[in-house]
Symmetry: C2
Subunit: 170 residues, 2 copies
Amino acid sequence: MAKILIMSADGFEDLELFYPLHRLREEGYEVIVASLKRGVITGKHGYTVEAQLAFDEVNPEEYVGLVLPGGRGPERVRLSPHAVRIVKHFFERNKPVAAICHGPQVLISARVVSGRRLTSWYGVKDDVMVAGGIWKDRSVVVDGNLVTSRHPGDLADWMREYIRLLKGVS
Amino acid sequence: MAKILIMSADGFEDLELFYPLHRLREEGYEVIVASLKRGVITGKHGYTVEAQLAFDEVNPEEYVGLVLPGGRGPERVRLSPHAVRIVKHFFERNKPVAAICHGPQVLISARVVSGRRLTSWYGVKDDVMVAGGIWKDRSVVVDGNLVTSRHPGDLADWMREYIRLLKGVS
């Protein structure tokens, strides 16, 4: 079964983690959650999920895709050099990456935003643009291997496009 | 665009409402949320959603499917004779119904459980059995037009089977 990696941390936006988690399982993928360390992480609305791996235990070669939920998790994720290295791997190999809301903060830290069309939560739009990104106010933006959305209201469009991309390559 | 009705109320299990809401939109359905009255309803984890219709304004003829999320919403929903009438309609017409967790409480009130294979949250298993249901401890149980699951961990299996059923008839 092809594997997909979700990278997040405490404060994640609950729907933005659980929608892709269940949706990609529904599609037959094995979905692994990784965080700063192994163990339970808690969303901003109180849902919990088990991080099965710490970032430094992740071998990104094993995964066909990467998902970056939003909320307050990404500001923690981006501080890990291991997380940044993992993001770079997916871009170097042109493997499908989905990011939503504050998720693109991790993309900025990995220096993969420049020249890319993408969207994000409104509050970090300026950071995306300063990093060289071409920010669009659309429910979903697909640019090469990258599929981005703004907020939980975009979940359906986000996963529709991400799964289309995954199916094209895996 | 074919329409699907979600019936819920304050105290709904957030993921059990939002997963099918976005998932069915992703599939191209128009999804309408109805409750005891129009306006915002709030989930047990604090997410909110707008009920666009009150139960007494719903014409069930317009919908190809019905979804009953769980949480503490169903104990409110089942008190509405309009909600009960709507459930009966879907069973009389053999249209696909998805219920999860405490959602089957509404099925009990509509007297449509007897002789049916189904599952539910463990805490209401005995009510299902006393009502004549044949309760199964499985992630998803499909019996004719009815697709049931136990809890949010079953969301992927629940919607995979429900969408398969919908696609077969609409």
